[in-house]
Assembly symmetry: C2
Homo-oligomer: 341 residues x 2
């Protein structure tokens, strides 16, 4: 290798023009969330660096209000509903984390909330959603159309529908995770080579990728998905949105999307690097590692990015890697399953 | 109230002269621990503020290397053993957290370690101590003398004994928890009115109280103990060290000291405020709260301070309160017991 080849290549300035969510919206969301959302820390753990050979920064959104990052997008979206429309409330569809994020936000803003949830959602998520004062309507994941149910409720009540990911205000809210992470890494004097996020519909992932593009150019964002729900990985490789065949069948209940969100895909197809997939076994092993070694409570879907790291699904040795733990709403029985593995 | 009465009274500058551990030793320990110990963050959680009526700052030492604060004191102490004596190794007595702190420190420094542990210590603590490469010798808590066993091993091997709390170097290491907490609170623009720590022999508690006296005058430190092991509370009230009648019988295995440490008592009798005690039930409820709401894995003894806060054992409403979670090495069965409560 000659001397000139060793010169670091300046990262290409990414072209952020024409993206559905301008970076300024993420900054505005951060202002709106100040004092409402938890500014989650960045955690380091020597053992994690040892077993992965990487310098790992954990962004623990399981420590967020409502137990997942979903509060950020929900609050950012709902707090922008005009005063005059608030009494009609909000409606959302969710397996449980968006449910809690919306319910907690609505409660803070004094608004009624109705959440359409699959009947097989984790018990803790159903209970906690009701705990935030929301009305819960359940449906059968295999046979019923949750969007139809939600649309009917909205039509009858005049409530505002809060999409779990395909909404610029939701994406801007989730993007504050990336904004904080980029700044926290810089405060530690570190440059993130890679960031791994758990990916369902892609609201969080596209928000993080956007924030990193603006604040940490050169950082590669990777989607991490359950093996049967790898719509983003396949879609990004194909260059067009592809759906999943399965509708259920993974313990990563938070990540069971049907296909990439339209806005999320438009962003990630320009900004994301290689995607990773993890099996249920790998997700459970990551849940157990988080419990036993990191002393953090993480749910299977919230551990997908950690699982991808621990299972060496991407070549990350020697790199500085951000890993987002997205949620911690796990039933005790599921945790025991993970620990018995 | 007249205007003059409203003037804030400047906190009396505490007299730190003659204390067994000068504050400079804590600063030196912080230097020694840099890059070895985790600089644990300060965590906020809206729900915790809501249910307590206080502004709560959590210092999560369960996220520390080896799963508890004990690594700090052990590493600070062991790293000061002269090079020539290191090959003879170290010996410690511990129910499990000091064991892991010593074993992890010795492993990092390339030294052999022998740990004398009660046979009824939590399985996870026995396993993890061996996992750090230490030799574990078990004894019966009711009938055998652990100090005698340790003294014999030291005499035979020439190894250095590392006391769990009654050692100025150990206290200085644990004091870095208080040093960090005081600075982190200041960074948040907050002044700590009170800090609650879990108290066994008093190494951590005296170290924290010392650091607060130097960096955050006016902050009141409170010892938090299991009801049957309230030697510090009673000793501080009596003005002389008093022993506990019980030797076992609390699930807070990390806090089952016989009596206050000599150095710890000499410090805390000058610097500590009112102490609190918690029942096993209250400790279990705090473990469950940490798991379910804070998404943190905490062991019963590590949750004593949180339990004192949640059970309103001290008048803390309206105050800014630091709570140290001291350890997270809990057996899954014990966690299930807490969650079933």
């Amino acid at each position: 290798m000659t001397e000139s080849q060793r010169q670091p290549v300046p990262a290409a300035k990414p072209d952020l023009s024409g993206l559905a969510v301008p970076f300024e919206d993420i900054e505005a969301a951060a202002e709106r969330l100040r004092g409402e959302a938890v500014l989650t820390p960045v955690l380091r753990h020597p053992l994690l660096d040892e077993v992965t050979g990487a310098t790992v920064l954990i962004k623990p959104e399981n420590l967020q209000r409502s137990g997942s990052f979903k509060f950020r997008g929900a609050f950012n979206c709902i707090s922008r509903i005009p005063e005059a429309a608030r009494f009609r409330g909000v409606v959302a569809c969710s397996s449980g984390n968006h449910a809690q994020g919306v319910a907690a936000s609505a409660q803070l803003l004094g608004m009624p909330a109705t959440i359409v949830m699959p009947a097989d959602a984790p018990k803790i998520k159903l209970e906690r959603t009701r705990g935030y004062g929301a009305r819960v309507v359940t449906y059968d994941r295999e046979t019923e159309d949750r969007d139809g149910i939600a649309a009917r409720i909205c039509a009858e009540s005049g409530a505002t529908f809060v999409h779990p990911y395909n909404d610029p205000a939701v994406i801007a809210g989730q993007g504050t995770v990336g904004l904080e992470l980029a700044r926290q890494a810089a405060d530690l004097g570190l440059h993130l080579d890679d960031v791994l996020g758990c990916t369902g519909g892609g609201g969080l992932s596209s928000g993080i990728a956007l924030a990193l593009s603006a604040l940490s150019p050169g950082t590669v964002f990777h989607t991490c998905e359950p093996a049967l729900f790898d719509d983003y990985k396949r879609s990004l490789e194909a260059g067009r949105p592809l759906a999943n065949a399965a509708k259920s069948g993974s313990i990563c209940d938070a990540l069971l999307s049907e296909s990439p969100g339209e806005i999320g895909f438009s962003i990630l197809s320009r900004l994301a690097g290689e995607g990773a997939t993890v099996t249920d076994e790998e997700a459970l092993a990551a849940v157990a590692f988080a419990f036993t070694e990191l002393k953090l409570v993480v749910e299977p879907g919230g551990a997908a990015a950690l699982a991808a790291l621990l299972s060496a699904k991407l070549p990350l040795k020697g790199r500085t890697v951000g890993v987002v733990l997205t949620g911690g709403n796990i039933d005790p029985q599921m945790l025991m399953t993970a620990l018995d593995h």
